[in-house]
Every structure is written in structure tokens, then in C-alpha cells.
């Protein structure tokens, strides 16, 4: 195009084709407003937690004014630290017991449920699947109340306390393995099991040697989620607890917030709870990446979203 005068449009700023508003500058510019907003949210979300963790190391007994650094709430003080105070100590142990027991029971039966319901294609199985989805979406309080009544009025051989708590937690968390493993199952299909049978495997053998290994990442992700959800759980555990020393950390914190144990001790407990959950998440993340090392497609985001259950 010869360099004639006026009406040559600037190729760097093409005219908008439609009148949807004028083109304001670079269409590829970064969305600063959105990004700023996101960072604000993240700060609002995480900073308070950081402060609470900080105060668990407070030298004084206040949860509001910083009085110096100390680990007395964890191990130092003979009376009030987590290590030495019996009720605090037991709470940590009880939390871990609940977490491990529930995960050990819930994941196998959840995985079996997922596989069975996926292939047993009748109305009954679809009905069971619906029941499972309901358990995912119902307010926890209602289930806790119903379970409390069940255990006290009907199935009284289940005693309140750890027994009832584990039973309730298993049911409450059943949807994690059921949904996550089912999703993975759908993408696997039947051809691998048929190949295994062709090569000599029996029915259960094919499932054991082929299907389960292929489901391992999903199984593991759901186990991590069940553990974290249980360790954090409060409503069902509180409702089904008995008198005595079987209070896990979450219940202990709740009952002592308005008086009772000193503030920073609660922060210490909560921090321990935090560390346990994060450790589980980290283990899950690493294990997931290791297990899918033969078939990774999206890098770290895939592992992250899987252990978040989405």
C-alpha cells in the first residue's frame, strides 16, 4: 500500500467490526482488577489463620496481644501444654484414632460400592446411588440427630463414643470414594479387564491385578479426603460422643472457646489439627503424582484438583 495521506487506518488498532463499544486499548491486557480482587480474597482467607497459628506460640495467655515467643503451649508447661495436659493430649490421640479407623473402613466399602453400582445396572443400584448422593448434600446436623436417635433408641448395641462416631463418620464420608472412584471408573472402561481375562485372569483376579491398580490414584485421593474430613469433623462427633475422655480436638476446641482452657492452648490444638490435615494433603499430593507418573497429562494442577475432590 502506497503511503498516501489521510484515511489509512493504523494496522495496530483495527476498527471494531461491531458496535459493541469501542475497543479500549490492548485487548490482551492483563485483568488487573480481577487479579487484585483475587489476591485480596486470598489474603483475607489466609492471613487470619496465620495469625492464629502465630498466637499458639504466644508467651502470654492472651489470644489478642503478642507477648513473646514460646512453645509452652505445646510442650513446655507442665500443666497446660498439649503434651502434658491429659485432656488435650487425649484429644489429639482421639482425633487420630477416628481419622484412621474411619478411613480404613470407609474407603474399601466405598470403592466396592462404586465398582458394584457402576456395573450392576438395575433400578436398585440406581436407587442406592441416589441415596448416596443424598448423603452428600444433606445438612450434617440432621444426619447427626437421626444417628443419635438411632443409636440411643434402636441399635443400642452400638455405644455412644468412638463406636458410634466411627459408624456415623463412615456413612457421612462414604460419598467421597463413591463419587471420585466412580468418575475414574467411567473413563477406564472394561477393555483392560477383558484383556486380563484373555491372558488367564479369573474375574476377581482381573479386578485385583488390573482394575484396582488403575483406580489407585482415585482411591488414594478419596482416602486423603476422608481422613481430612473426619479429622475436621465436628457435628456428628459431638452428637454421638459420650461423657468421658473421648473428645477429639474439634469438639474440645468448640466446648472451650467461651471459657475453660486458655486461649493459646486452643490455638495450639487447632494448629496441630492444621498440621495433620496439611500433612495428609501433602502425602496425598505426592502419592498421586507418583502413581500417575505413567500417564500424566496436565501436570500439577491435575493432582491438586483430584485431591480436592473436583
Amino acid at each position: 500500500m502506497a503511503s498516501t495521506a489521510e484515511s489509512v487506518s493504523d494496522p495496530a488498532r483495527p476498527e471494531p467490526l461491531h458496535s459493541g463499544g469501542r475497543q479500549r486499548g490492548n485487548p490482551w491486557r492483563r485483568p488487573w482488577a480481577l487479579e487484585g480482587f483475587t489476591w485480596l480474597y486470598i489474603l483475607w482467607s489466609i492471613v487470619p489463620i496465620g495469625i492464629a497459628v502465630l498466637f499458639s506460640f504466644n508467651k502470654g495467655a492472651s489470644q489478642a496481644t503478642w507477648q513473646g515467643f514460646s512453645t509452652k503451649w505445646y510442650v513446655g508447661n507442665q500443666v497446660t501444654s498439649v503434651l502434658h495436659n491429659p485432656s488435650l493430649h487425649h484429644a489429639v490421640v482421639q482425633t487420630l484414632i477416628l481419622g484412621v479407623l474411619t478411613t480404613l473402613i470407609c474407603v474399601p466399602i466405598g470403592v466396592g460400592f462404586a465398582i458394584g453400582v457402576d456395573r450392576w445396572r438395575t433400578r436398585t443400584s440406581q436407587g442406592l446411588n441416589l441415596v448416596m448422593i443424598f448423603s452428600f448434600v444433606i445438612p450434617e446436623l440432621l444426619l447427626a440427630v437421626a444417628l443419635f436417635l438411632l443409636v440411643t433408641q434402636a441399635l443400642t448395641f452400638i455405644s455412644l463414643g468412638t463406636e458410634a462416631e466411627v459408624a456415623g463418620l463412615v456413612v457421612w464420608n462414604l460419598s467421597w470414594p463413591a463419587i471420585i472412584v466412580r468418575a475414574r471408573l467411567v473413563s477406564i472402561g472394561r477393555s483392560y479387564e477383558e484383556a486380563a481375562a484373555d491372558l488367564g485372569a479369573s474375574r476377581m483376579g482381573a479386578i485385583r491385578r488390573v482394575l484396582i491398580p488403575m483406580l489407585m490414584p482415585a482411591i488414594f485421593a478419596s482416602a486423603v479426603l476422608v481422613f481430612a474430613s473426619t479429622v475436621d469433623d465436628f457435628v456428628i462427633v459431638e452428637q454421638l460422643s459420650s461423657t468421658g475422655n473421648t473428645q477429639p480436638m474439634s469438639v474440645l476446641i468448640y466446648s472451650n472457646v467461651h471459657g475453660g482452657l486458655s486461649g493459646p492452648a486452643l490455638n495450639a490444638l487447632a494448629t496441630i489439627l492444621l498440621v495433620i490435615s496439611l500433612a495428609a494433603a501433602l502425602i496425598g499430593f505426592i502419592a498421586y503424582r507418583w502413581m500417575t507418573r505413567g500417564e500424566r497429562t496436565q501436570g500439577s494442577t491435575e493432582a491438586l484438583t483430584s485431591i480436592a475432590g473436583i
Binding site: 461491531h18 459493541g20 463499544g21 480481577l34 487479579e35 480482587f37 483475587t38 486470598i42 482467607s45 489466609i46 487470619p48 489463620i49 489470644q63 489478642a64 466396592g112 465398582i115 458394584g116 453400582v117 457402576d118 456395573r119 450392576w120 445396572r121 443400584s125 440406581q126 446411588n129 441415596v131 448416596m132 448422593i133 448423603s135 444433606i138 445438612p139 450434617e140 446436623l141 440432621l142 437421626a146 444417628l147 436417635l149 438411632l150 434402636a154 463412615v170 456413612v171 462414604l174 463413591a178 468418575a183 467411567v186 474375574r203 457435628v235 480436638m249 474439634s250 472457646v257 486452643l266 487447632a270 494448629t271 492444621l274 490435615s277 496439611l278 495428609a280 494433603a281 500439577s300 491438586l304
Partner: protein, 303 residues
């Protein structure tokens, strides 16, 4: 496919066997408890011990507890009304605020985060793994009379002596938002991340500006995610009682969950607590069924 059907059908006993433990657990510990709840609601009281006497046969259910609750709702000394209304109000406001905050954040991370997506995801997922107790504890620390928040306010010349934890609706509502928003963000993110980029590119190619593309394409596409997200947020929120307990503990901010809890714990009123819980369940049944059906439909389409 026929091949799939043959494999499935031939091994039917195996599938039933695998699903059985989970199915039994669900039936015994999820379905049966609600029947027990019905029986307690329709049952009576042992006057002497003030304990419940459940009635198992539906034909013998009495309306004793139901009328007592009805009195509590509409009668002379009615006290259920306020918490019920408050629950609706709090949930609606908290969900709305959550959506207003969650959507832009999810939108940003799914569309514009680029190489830093992993970093943002970690930061967004982190609260998921921090226990609810810890997160509420954090705010209790901050909002105390001598705490950071008040100090910051007085630093900026604003009154710094409000008792935030003494029974303020604002605190409870924001507490609810803080507690439930991570779930909403993740659900929205998961969905927005999966929107086919090419649909948006096609829209731009056809001449829509960025805003128009957003309103005419992205938002309609996100509708199912927004609906599902609101369900996942609002439904559990309705049953919440502990946020109020932790951040307020005053009668002026109680929610329906507190009322149920209160009745259950009072001797002689357990039956009424069951009734109240049942009523809440029935009210929530419609949205729950709607959510379950649409999820089941979606997953069947996938399979």
C-alpha cells in the same frame, strides 16, 4: 455398547457382592435413622424419666410432639419463628455475598492465571484443609475486644471498642461466608475451567466484544455451575449452628440449627427436637431432590 452389557451381566453376582457392604451401611446408618427420627417424633414421653418413647408402628404415631412444635411456632409463647426467619435471611445474604466474591476469583484463576495456576490453586484449596475450628478460631482471636481488628479500627480513627463477638448478625453472616466460600470457589473453578475455550473464541470471532462474550456466552454456560454451587453452599448452611455458637453465642443471632439442638438436649423435649429436624428435612427435600436428580442425570450422560 453390547460388549459392555455382556461383561456387566455375566458378572452380576460379583458387582452385587462388591456393592453390598456399602449398600448395607447406607441403609442401616443413613436411611434407618430417619425412620427412627419419625418414630420418635410420632412417639411419646416417659414422664418420669423425661426420656423419649419411640413408637415404631406408623399406625400408632401420635401428634403430641407435632402439636407442641406447632405451638412453638405459632402459639402464644412462640419462639421458633425468629430463628427460622433469621436462618433464611442469613443463608440468603451469605450465599449472595459468597457468590459475588467466589465467581470473580474462580473466573480469574481459571481463565487468566496462566502459568501461576498451580500457585493460585494451592492458595485456594488450602482453606479446604484447614479445619473449620481453626478458621473460626482465627476470627475469634482477631475480633476480640482487645484484638487486632479493633486495634486496626482505632488506628484509623474509627471506634475501636465494638464487641464483635457479642451477638452481631454481621459477624455471623461474615463467619458463614468465610466458612463456606472455599467450596463454592472450587465448584465454580472446576466448571469454568472446563468451559471449552473454543466456544468463547468463536464468539469473539463472530464479533462480540469482551463484555458481550462474557454476558452472552460465559454466564449462560456457567448457570448450572452457579446453581450447583449455590446448592452446595446454602444447603449445609441452613443446618449450621456452630458458627453462631462460636462467633456470637447470643440468643439474638440463633439459627434454626440452634433451636433443634436446644430442644434435643432438653429432657422432655427430645421428641419436639425430632419434629423440628423432620420439618427442616421436609422443607429442604425439594431443593435436595432437585440437586440429586440433576447430578444423577449429568453423571448418566457422562457414562
Amino acid at each position: 455398547m453390547d460388549q459392555q452389557n455382556t461383561y456387566d451381566k455375566r458378572n452380576r453376582r460379583l458387582w452385587i457382592g462388591l456393592a453390598a457392604p456399602g449398600a448395607i451401611w447406607l441403609l442401616v446408618l443413613f436411611v434407618a435413622p430417619f425412620y427412627v427420627m419419625l418414630s420418635v417424633a410420632g412417639g411419646g414421653i416417659n414422664e418420669f424419666f423425661q426420656t423419649v418413647v419411640p413408637v415404631w408402628n406408623p399406625l400408632h404415631w401420635s401428634s403430641f410432639n407435632f402439636s407442641a412444635v406447632w405451638h412453638d411456632i405459632v402459639g402464644a409463647g412462640a419462639y421458633i419463628g425468629p430463628p427460622a426467619l433469621r436462618t433464611l435471611l442469613y443463608t440468603a445474604i451469605a450465599t449472595a455475598i459468597s457468590l459475588a466474591v467466589a465467581y470473580p476469583v474462580a473466573y480469574f484463576v481459571s481463565r487468566f492465571a496462566g502459568g501461576r495456576k498451580g500457585l493460585f490453586l494451592v492458595l485456594l484449596i488450602a482453606p479446604f484443609w484447614v479445619s473449620y475450628m481453626m478458621r473460626m478460631l482465627a476470627w475469634i482471636d482477631l475480633l476480640q475486644q482487645g484484638g487486632f481488628f479493633n486495634s486496626a479500627l482505632s488506628f484509623f480513627g474509627l471506634p475501636g471498642n465494638t464487641d464483635w463477638l457479642g451477638g452481631k448478625s454481621v459477624t455471623v453472616i461474615l463467619g458463614l461466608v468465610y466458612g463456606y466460600i472455599p467450596y463454592l470457589i472450587l465448584v465454580l473453578y472446576a466448571f469454568l475451567d472446563r468451559i471449552d475455550q473454543r466456544l468463547l473464541e468463536a464468539a469473539r470471532d463472530l464479533g462480540l466484544s469482551k463484555w458481550r462474550t462474557f454476558w452472552s456466552v460465559t454466564i449462560p454456560l456457567s448457570k448450572p455451575a452457579i446453581v450447583a454451587g449455590c446448592f452446595i453452599t446454602a444447603l449445609p448452611m441452613v443446618g449450621d449452628y456452630f458458627t453462631n455458637q462460636l462467633l456470637s453465642a447470643a440468643p439474638g443471632t440463633t439459627m434454626i440449627g440452634n433451636a433443634i439442638e436446644g430442644q434435643l438436649d432438653s429432657p422432655g423435649q427430645t421428641g419436639q427436637g425430632a419434629v423440628l429436624a423432620l420439618m427442616l428435612l421436609v422443607i429442604l427435600l425439594i431443593p435436595m431432590v432437585y440437586y440429586v436428580m440433576s447430578t444423577a442425570r449429568a453423571s448418566r450422560e457422562m457414562a
